[in-house]
């Protein structure tokens, strides 16, 4: 409207804008409500003649504001749309022609949106709307109402082929004949496929007006994938240089997994290639090649097993003459097989050719004029056939003379010579291939002549075994299933001595089909399906327009062997046949190119699809009107003298807005709050180690350090507990959580540690750590006597700590069993009592004598009195620092063992207690 991309869904409402004039006069003479003031000397005012006689008028800003509000509301009621496409001229019916070939699929949503917008715009304008697609060209075109348009557009989907536009022309012609004033909108895919040029010329001649809208980006498609000798090469084509020039191509296997990925670059050309450098085994797994990010059936190339590369082994009976390669049959075979198979030849003269070739596990073994003697060769070939191999034999002098069973049919000795000097028969041509033959569908060129052949003995079933015949009916190629394998015999040689077949393209095609027979079992069993067009293959899985494989549509028909070329409506692209042996039909013919459509006389709007969707301006206009109303209300209140209210209201509004704004400020991350981890804690966390409490008494601390170091060494030597260097701790300051065991020798004369130390120790014990307090007073303490100074000191310290009930270590406590079997804990002295958390009383119902008992967890506290560290401590030379009481190497050993048991106890918990039951448990399990 007015050159702007603005349209109104209900333009009639705009007529109400005239009412704004009336509103103007009305508002002009209706001033805002007066502010009211109580005024006692009112009597004095009455009768006063105002100096100014101007009647009260609404102030012009308020007038303008109110008129704007009115205009906004009227505009909003008219449902304005920005970016609308309603600029479409014309008033007659609108026929929207939506190209639905696969080339339209990548931009399908855009196309449908565009069609929907246009249809909606036309429907708003009261025009008849009809929608047609080339793929449904046979259907009559009927006008649709608004919901019908929506339903139709929803139901549309791109087809996976390029529909023939000419087929759609008659229905369009009939519609145009009924509605001669129709404007045609053709949302075209910009690709010539399906006869766009001819169709546009025809449309131009019959239609009143045609507008062609295309996407600016051209189409991109795959036009083949060749499984070549070294790589899988995908052929890409694009319709014009605007199409994406670079991208990625993906190779997928049958399950849709990505096998390979490679990039392509068109440069300035319209064709490109993408090579997948993959091993042949992986390449053979590829069933689909897709252009990444291109949702289109044309951007998907299906690969069936015909293009699977197979290993073909060639063995020739002729002596290899390198100087004259043209005389060797293997030369022709190699040339013919090279494009689609990997060839292995026998080179190593030291081994048997057939056996060594079969060891390479080929799919096809080609024996060119070679007879097979019984022996390892025959055994190898028989095994090869049984495992599903294809044996391809060529006749020749050796075969004609020889006698073996590896032929599909019995052969007459000697050959048949045609067209020779002594024969009146001329060289024979090849008869057209019959349906049912794997060669069906191949053309039998006239120039191929056969001069000599080996003849098959007439026998029953020969006709079924015959794949190709000469014009006189004699078999040229016979085949027979042998086990899971297949024997195929060419009744001519693989070189040009008997026929010129190896020189023809037919030879290549025939070999290709034969090779494809490999790994395709069940072919023989499917004979029943052989019809007029050869083996009938029903659709298995077909592509939709977006290039997604799915169940075939109802109208899809089977293909025969002679089907070739691109998919169409009846034969949509996809896989046909059985899952074991399927044929691929693709959206594009092999090697086809995407040509840019030439719409001739029609007006083309290129890139017009790439528009933003229309914006419904109501969502802006109505709030704007609302805000205007609010402003008007505030102004009116102010004019009425609501100043105090306004001030408070404004304050409240500011407060609310401010609060919301504050609430919206994201909370700052508080990463910096936690204290940095010290290196010491980092080390402690990374490796397990013993720890002792630094008491402040230098000699005691030194003893603790040396003792624990010695214990750590012994632990590493005797057990798998390889601990790091012991560390001294200040419990009031250091983090204790990293240590499984903390040794605390009690020194009575020292002051009590800080309360923080007590708190930390309590937490450490609660969290599963074990404290070993060593009072070192075994010599002075007497059972039943007064507590020693160290015991008193410890009692004072533990006053605020939650200490569990303690008992002297019982003989069956797990502490005495964790590594060594001990009677008691021994240190420098061997008479002290060691206290540990009291175990739960033994189960009175459990009469089995348990060798060890343990609680549910490790005791958080062990109070020793035998000066453990003093017994462990060694100097740098490994000599004990302190004498033992009563002394002796045995006691030192026992002290060390006590230490090991203590450490093991804290590290393994009640595991040992369970272990001593292992025998019982195992017995119970086996019972």
């Amino acid at each position: 409207m007015f050159g702007l991309p603005l349209a109104f869904a209900a333009p009639a409402v705009l007529a109400a804008l005239i009412g704004l004039v009336g509103l103007y006069f009305l508002l002009r003479v209706t001033p805002p409500a007066p502010r009211r003031a109580i005024f006692p000397p009112l009597r004095l005012l009455i009768g006063l003649d105002p100096n100014e006689t101007t009647p009260a008028r609404t102030p012009w800003p308020i007038l303008a504001l109110r008129l704007a509000i009115g205009a906004l509301i009227i505009l909003a009621m008219a449902e304005p749309l920005w970016n609308s496409l309603a600029a479409l001229s014309g008033s007659g019916p609108l026929l929207i022609l939506v190209d639905d070939g696969f080339a339209a699929a990548p931009t399908w949503d855009k196309r449908i949106d565009f069609a929907r917008e246009r249809a909606a715009a036309a429907a708003r304008a009261g025009r008849i709307v009809a929608i047609a697609t080339p793929s449904q060209g046979g259907q009559e075109i009927a006008p649709l109402d608004r919901s019908g348009v929506e339903g139709r557009l929803r139901a549309l989907a791109p087809v996976p082929y390029a529909p023939d536009r000419a087929a759609a022309a008659p229905a369009i012609e009939r519609f145009l004949a009924r509605e001669p004033k129709t404007d045609v909108l053709w949302i075209a895919d910009g690709v010539e496929l399906g006869g766009a040029g001819a169709f546009s010329a025809r449309l131009a001649s019959i239609a009143h007006s045609v507008e062609v809208v295309t996407d600016s980006s051209g189409a991109l498609a795959l036009a083949g994938a060749d499984n070549e000798a070294g790589a899988l090469t995908a052929r890409l084509t694009r319709s014009d240089a605007h199409a994406p020039g670079t991208g990625a191509v993906r190779a997928l296997d049958a399950q849709g997994r990505e096998i390979g990925r490679t990039t392509f670059d068109f440069g300035a050309k319209l064709a490109a290639q993408a090579r997948f450098d993959l091993p042949v085994e992986l390449r053979n797994e590829v069933t689909r090649v897709v252009i990444d990010g291109e949702r289109s059936a044309g951007a998907t190339w299906l690969i069936d097993e015909r293009s699977r590369r197979r290993r073909v082994a060639i063995a020739s009976g002729a002596s290899a003459d390198v100087a004259q390669p043209l005389l060797a049959p293997s030369y022709y075979l190699k040339r013919a097989l090279q494009p689609f198979a990997d060839i292995s030849e026998w080179h190593d003269s030291s081994t048997d050719p057939i056996v060594s070739l079969i060891e390479q596990k080929p799919s096809v073994l080609v024996l060119a004029d070679m007879s097979v003697a019984p022996g390892p060769e025959l055994d190898a070939i028989t095994e090869f056939l049984d495992s599903g191999g294809v044996l391809l034999r060529f006749a020749g002098t050796h075969l004609a003379a020889g006698d073996d069973t590896l032929t599909p049919t019995a052969l007459r000795r000697g050959g048949r010579l045609l067209g020779g000097a002594l024969s009146w028969e001329t060289p024979k041509h090849i008869a057209p291939f019959e349906a049912g033959s794997p060669f069906f569908g191949l053309a039998a060129p006239d120039e191929v002549t056969v001069r000599r052949q080996v003849l098959a003995e007439p026998e029953t079933g020969l006709a079924e075994k015959t794949w190709a015949r000469l014009a006189d009916g004699t078999p040229l190629v016979t085949a027979e299933r042998r086990g899971k394998g297949l024997i195929v015999l060419f009744h001519v040689t693989a070189d040009t001595t008997w026929s010129n077949l190896p020189l023809s393209g037919l030879f290549v095609d025939m070999l290709k089909r034969i090779v494809a027979e490999a790994d395709a079992p069940g072919e023989g069993a499917a004979k029943a399906k052989v019809g007029e067009h050869g083996v009938v293959r029903p659709p298995l899985r077909t592509l939709n327009g977006f290039g997604v494989l799915g169940p075939p549509p109802a109208q899809a028909e089977p293909i025969g062997d002679d089907f070739s070329g691109a998919g169409d409506a009846l034969h949509p692209p996809g896989f046909y046949g059985t899952p074991d042996s399927s044929r691929a039909v693709n959206a594009l013919a092999l090697g086809a190119t995407l040509a840019r459509a030439n719409y001739g006389p029609l007006a083309v709007h290129e890139g017009a699809l790439a528009i933003a969707p229309p914006i419904d301006l109501r969502r802006w206009l109505l709030p704007a009107a609302l805000i205007g109303l609010m402003i008007d209300a505030l102004v009116s209140i102010w004019l009425m003298g609501g100043a105090p209210f306004r001030r408070k209201g404004a304050l409240a509004a500011f407060a609310i807005v401010g609060a919301l704004g504050l609430a919206a400020i994201p909370h700052q991350a508080r990463a910096g709050d936690s204290a940095p981890v010290s290196d010491r804690d980092m080390d402690a966390a990374l490796s397990t180690r013993l720890a002792y409490v630094v008491t402040g008494d230098a000699s005691v601390d030194e003893t603790s350090k040396l003792g624990l170091e010695a214990l750590t060494r012994v632990l590493a030597a005797r057990t798998s507990a390889e601990l790091a260097e012991p560390v001294g701790l200040n419990p009031a300051r250091d983090e204790l959580a990293f240590y499984p065991l903390i040794y605390w020798p009690i020194v009575a004369g020292l002051p009590q540690p800080k309360p923080e130390a007590r708190t930390r120790i309590a937490a450490f014990m609660k969290n599963g750590g074990t404290m070993i307090f060593d009072t070192r007073d075994a010599l002075v303490a007497r059972p039943g006597g007064p507590p020693t100074a160290e015991a008193l000191w410890l009692r004072t310290f533990l006053k605020g700590v939650d200490v569990p009930e303690l008992e002297p270590v019982p003989r069956d406590h797990v502490l005495t069993k964790t590594f060594y079997l001990l009677d008691r804990i021994v240190g420098r002295t061997a008479i002290g009592q060691t206290w540990i958390e009291a175990l739960p009383p033994p189960d009175p119902n459990d009469h089995v004598r348990r060798p060890a008992r343990a609680g549910d967890s490790v005791s958080p506290i062990i109070i020793a009195s035998d000066d453990l560290a003093g017994a462990w401590a060694e100097d740098a030379g490994g000599r004990p620092l302190y004498p033992l009481i009563p002394g002796g190497a045995r006691q030192r050993e026992l002290a060390m063992r006590s230490g090991i048991n203590l450490v093991m106890y804290t590290l393994t918990g009640n595991y040992k207690a369970d272990q001593v039951h292992a025998k019982d448990i195992l017995e119970r399990l086996t019972r």
């Binding site: 502010r35 009211r36 005024f39 006692p40 000397p41 004095l44 005012l45 101007t54």
Partner: protein
């Protein structure tokens, strides 16, 4: 047109506010009394003042024989000078007085009541009797303020808020003094007749016009609807500011007319704005009471 709720509430609670007004009145009166002393001198009165020796030529009837009998000389009994026997006070309690604008600290009626009670207190302490015109007889008791307040409250309770903007037209006794406090925005003729009626027997007095500041400032602009506090009148002015000059002129004329009326009866007139100090106007009233100048205010008989 109904009154705005604030005015209704104020009117209904004038009696409720009286206790605080009483206290305020006492305080104001106290402030003023510090500066003024009573007229301690002989004059015509009824209270004994002193005996003085008879001066020859005086009428012999003045001789106080009882006193003279005790001595050789004749004495004359003098009574204390009593300048006015009675001070009649009246203040306007009509809706017009209930008004207090945003510029004023108190309503006009509060200020009027304050002035009336404080002046009554001053008068009683100065030896005069004070009465509320139309409500009480003249009182000379110390608790005159409380008595007045009680009378006003009773009147309000019995007869509702007073609607009358002018004092009752009862002539005051000769030589009595009259203090009329109000806004006096009625027609000058009615005011003149009221003043004439009161001063018919020769009572002298003072008229205090209490005015709200907004009445002099006239800060109105634009489209304004003026309402009378009594609700009887309203005026819609599209451009209120255009009336300003005419209004101020008319207000001045009105006041001049009132002043003229007072002058004709020998009364004084004072204009008091509610944002002004009540003590100030009270002091002025008291000064005029003690040092009257003929024609300008209270004067002695």
């Amino acid at each position: 047109m109904t009154l705005p709720p604030s005015i209704r509430r104020d009117a209904s609670t004038l009696s409720a506010r009286l206790p605080s007004l009483v206290i305020a009145a006492r305080r104001v009166a106290q402030t003023v009394r510090h500066g003024v002393h009573g007229r301690r001198r002989a004059g015509s009165g009824e209270t004994f003042w002193q005996f003085r020796p008879f001066i020859s030529g005086e009428p012999s009837s003045r001789v106080d024989w009882r006193r003279s009998a005790r001595e050789e000389r004749a004495f004359v009994r003098e009574r204390e000078w009593e300048a006015a026997h009675t001070v009649w006070i009246w203040f306007d309690r009509s809706p017009s007085m209930q008004f207090a604008s945003s510029l004023a600290p108190v309503s006009k009626v509060d200020r009027a009541a304050l002035l009336a009670l404080a002046f009554a207190d001053l008068c009683v302490r100065g030896g005069e009797r004070a009465g509320l015109l139309g409500l009480t007889r003249p009182l000379a008791a110390q608790g005159v303020v409380e008595r007045f307040a009680e009378a006003i409250a009773t009147d309000e309770r019995l007869r509702g808020p007073s609607q009358d903007p002018l004092p009752p037209a009862a002539p005051a006794a000769p030589r009595s003094m009259v203090l009329l406090i109000g806004d006096f925005l009625s027609e000058p003729e009615r005011i003149a007749s009221a003043v004439r009626a009161i001063s018919a027997q020769g009572a002298i007095g003072e008229l205090v016009m209490v005015a709200d500041p907004i009445e002099e400032a006239y800060p109105f602009e634009g489209n304004t609807e003026f309402l009378h506090p009594a609700g009887s009148l309203s005026l819609l002015t599209p451009r209120a500011q255009s009336l300003r000059d005419a209004y101020l002129a008319r207000l001045a004329a009105h006041r001049e007319a009132i002043r003229e009326i007072c002058a004709r009866s020998g009364w004084g007139m004072t204009i008091h704005r509610t944002d002004g100090s009540p003590a100030e106007v009270l002091l002025a009233l008291r000064m005029r009471l003690s040092a009257p100048e003929p024609g300008t205010g209270l004067r002695s008989a």
